[in-house]
């Protein structure tokens, strides 16, 4: 036997061992990730004929998807979702960055500030929604109380469409900024102090330090935070559900709320699955878009 034969045999068995060791994790992922997603797509190709409910779910091919494209409510709820994304993702990034910079300042009482940052993030979404619903309540809410004290007419925050969307956006920004801040704070702490000291020696201003050191070094953290935030924004559900229930009419309903309604209230599992599949595709597209952009810009950085 030659050495190479021995090593190739050893390679093979090592590979087999590796596969064997990976098997439990792979099976687990298959069971809890791949299987449900496959079931979702499979179920989205089925529907119940309302004239003949007893027949149960029938194969209808892409019928549910065609129905979605003709469904005004699908487009309206998707538009509201996109609106929440466009408004709340950049806004929570800006607010979160500000909070992170504040929390990163070298002063003595850092821990209460950081704890304060954690609180909105630790609060369950529905609670945040309910609390802000009371803030924006017409008769007894804090917001209208301030408005009245300032001498203006109280506003119908939760029952006029534009104000309701504004109120929901404010709540989402409040809730998600702390998450952004936590991610960015972690990023800020990886930036070596020596860079700032060197910049100071070179006579860079505070603003220059921010744009030339902080922002570029923070870029990976910003992108990770943006990806997470965008995906959760696509799935926006709890806060509008708790604040307006989608009202007035369907004016604040998100895609996730419509999916919830279609499956759990209307029991139309086929159509609900199709809508969920469309949302899944949207999430994947957004994520891969971000990833592509980060990879390209990272490559450019190296050149």
């Amino acid at each position: 036997m030659t050495d190479s034969a021995i090593s190739s045999k050893k390679d093979l068995s090592e590979r087999a061992l590796g596969a064997l060791l990976l098997l439990p994790a792979a099976l687990l992922l298959l069971g809890i990730v791949v299987y449900p997603i496959a079931t979702l797509f499979w179920s989205s190709l089925h529907g119940v004929d309302n004239a003949n409910v007893a027949a149960g779910e029938q194969w209808i091919g892409l019928g549910n998807y065609l129905r979605a494209f003709e469904d005004d409510r699908f487009w309206a709820s998707s538009w509201h979702t996109v609106l929440y994304i466009i408004v709340t993702v950049p806004a929570s990034l800006v607010v979160g960055l500000g909070l992170a910079l504040l929390a990163n300042l070298p002063f003595r009482w850092q821990w209460p500030v950081r704890l304060g940052l954690l609180l909105p993030w630790a609060l369950p979404l529905v609670f945040a929604g309910l609390i802000f619903r009371w803030f924006f309540e017409y008769q007894t809410g804090v917001v209208n109380d301030v408005i009245v004290r300032l001498g203006f007419e109280p506003l119908q925050w939760l029952s006029s469409p534009n104000l309701a969307i504004a109120a929901i956006c404010i709540t989402i920004i409040w809730k998600s900024s702390s998450f952004m801040a936590l991610m960015l704070l972690a990023g800020l702490q990886t930036i070596p102090k020596s860079l700032y000291e060197a910049a100071e020696v070179d006579g860079a201003s505070r603003w220059q330090q921010f744009t030339e050191i902080t922002l570029p070094m923070l870029r990976p953290a910003i992108f990770v935070a943006l990806i997470f935030r965008t995906i959760t924004a696509i799935q926006t559900f709890d806060i509008p559900y708790a604040m307006t229930g989608g009202g007035p009419g369907d004016a604040t309903e998100t895609l996730a709320m419509y999916i919830h309604k279609t499956t759990l209230d209307f029991l139309d599992f086929g159509y609900g699955s199709a809508l969920a599949a469309l949302m899944f595709v949207l999430s994947m597209a957004a994520t891969s878009g971000y990833l592509k952009y980060t990879r390209r810009s990272a490559g450019r950085g190296e050149e």
Binding site: N50, P161, G245, G247, G249, L264, D265, F266
Partner: protein, 421 residues
């Protein structure tokens, strides 16, 4: 640490004790689901009484969601997966058709046999009807409910106004009282306006008050001038300033809270409100409340929305025989009376309303019976959740001022048309 250990010991001990006692008697365990608003404490007492009489049966009471919608979302999950954990379920009066279509409720005809024809006529007719779908009995009535007009006796006396019979009389009275009281907090008329189930009745009650209905022989019947009437009525109320400005944000229990604080003159709400107004420690309107039938249009006839809860036997239960027996007990005049006394639940049998012991606790039941007898069912469909959504979201949008009568009605019709073909 000591505390933790003793807690564990207690928990273990309890588990062992439970297991032992369950094994010793070879009992049948029945699990019944009830919503948090349907007085699970009273259900427990009734179940205890049943256990005393049937030692071989043990009843567990599972409590879920506060609203009908929340309960149904949970139950949809349990029953769609054909889970046998629940044997009996309290369901809202709007659900039997959907439950029959989904195959969730066990039809009771086979278990009742000849008794079915005997017991059905003893119930209030609306409840006997509501629980039969295509001739099959899907559930048994547990307690009744309907919407009433609550009014402030003291304020009507003060301004020497009669109890209104028509909507226009009510608006006029509300304006007079509001002008006289000069309280910015006082609302003339309140009803459910948020996008919730109760808002379906907000549309239907004035529609019925004209003598019309949403469907006719199973077909949609909204191309009538009467279909516009509910929108126009609330439009008039908004113009007259008698409704709260945030009416489109008002859910069911908010009406009660506002009325209890003394801030509402007329309110359209369910039977549970009376008890809270008279018994809650913080009620500012004790002894000042009247209950009557809801107003109607000139030339029309008052009608109200039927509510109430039914006992269904799960199609996936493993103890159906025993479950049906317990369901029949829960739907007996005896339990109806127990509920009336302990929880002020409206009885499903007409004679219980006149029972002296019941009247002693609930003097207003005498006035409630004729109202409940005018109660009508919301449109019956196995796709009721879609029907409800079409009505409530458009009524809500109209009340919020984002849709006009024309757009709200047109949108409502286009959503309902495919359901009532």
């Amino acid at each position: 640490m000591k505390l933790y250990r003793s807690l564990v010991a207690v928990a273990l001990g309890a588990t062992v004790a439970l297991t032992v006692s369950a094994n010793a008697a070879a009992q049948t365990t029945l699990r019944i689901f009830t919503g948090g608003q349907q007085r699970p404490d009273v259900m427990r007492k009734i179940a205890d009484e049943y256990q005393k009489r049937n030692p071989a049966v043990k009843v567990e009471v599972e409590v879920g969601g506060a609203t009908s919608d929340a309960q149904q979302q949970y139950l949809s999950t349990v029953l769609s997966s054909k889970d046998s954990v629940l044997d009996l379920i309290l369901i809202d009066v709007i659900r039997p058709a959907q439950w029959a279509a989904q195959g969730w409720a066990e039809p009771l005809d086979g278990y009742l046999g000849a008794d079915k024809a005997k017991i059905l006529p003893t119930y209030l007719k609306a409840y006997a009807d509501a629980n039969q779908v295509g001739g099959k009995l899907m559930a048994l009535p547990y307690f009744a409910d309907s919407q009433f007009l609550y009014y402030r006796k003291d304020l009507l006396d003060k301004y020497k106004r009669p109890v209104p019979k028509t909507w226009d009389e009510m608006i006029e009275t509300a304006q007079i009282v509001m002008e006289g009281e000069k309280s910015p907090q006082l609302q003339g008329f309140s009803t459910a306006g948020a996008p919730i189930e109760g808002t379906v009745c907000t549309y239907l009650v004035p529609l019925w008050g004209t003598g019309s209905d949403m469907t006719k022989n199973g077909k949609l019947n909204l191309d009538t001038p009467e279909a516009r009437q509910p929108f126009q009525l609330y439009g008039r109320m908004k113009q007259a300033g008698v409704m709260p400005k945030n009416i489109a944000e008002i859910p069911t229990d908010r009406i009660r809270v506002d009325f209890q604080a003394g801030n509402v003159l007329f309110a359209q709400s369910w039977g549970y409100v009376w008890n809270r107004l008279e018994n809650d420690a913080d009620s500012k309107v004790k002894g000042k409340v009247g209950v009557t039938i809801l107003p109607h249009d000139k030339g029309g006839k008052s009608a109200t929305c039927i509510g109430g809860w039914q006992v269904a036997v799960s199609a996936f239960s493993k103890n159906k025989q025993e479950a049906v027996k317990f369901a029949r007990y829960l739907s007996s005049p005896e339990v109806s009376k127990m509920q009336a006394i302990m929880a002020s639940h409206l009885p499903v049998f007409p004679q219980v309303y006149k029972d002296p012991e019941v009247l002693k606790v609930n003097p207003w039941f005498a006035e409630a019976l004729p109202v409940v007898e005018t109660a009508r069912s919301r449109p019956v469909s196995h796709q009721y959740p879609q029907v409800s959504d079409a009505v409530r979201s458009n009524m809500n949008a109209y009340l919020a001022g984002t849709k006009t009568t024309d757009t709200a009605l047109a949108d409502m019709k286009s959503k309902l048309q495919p359901i009532f073909r």
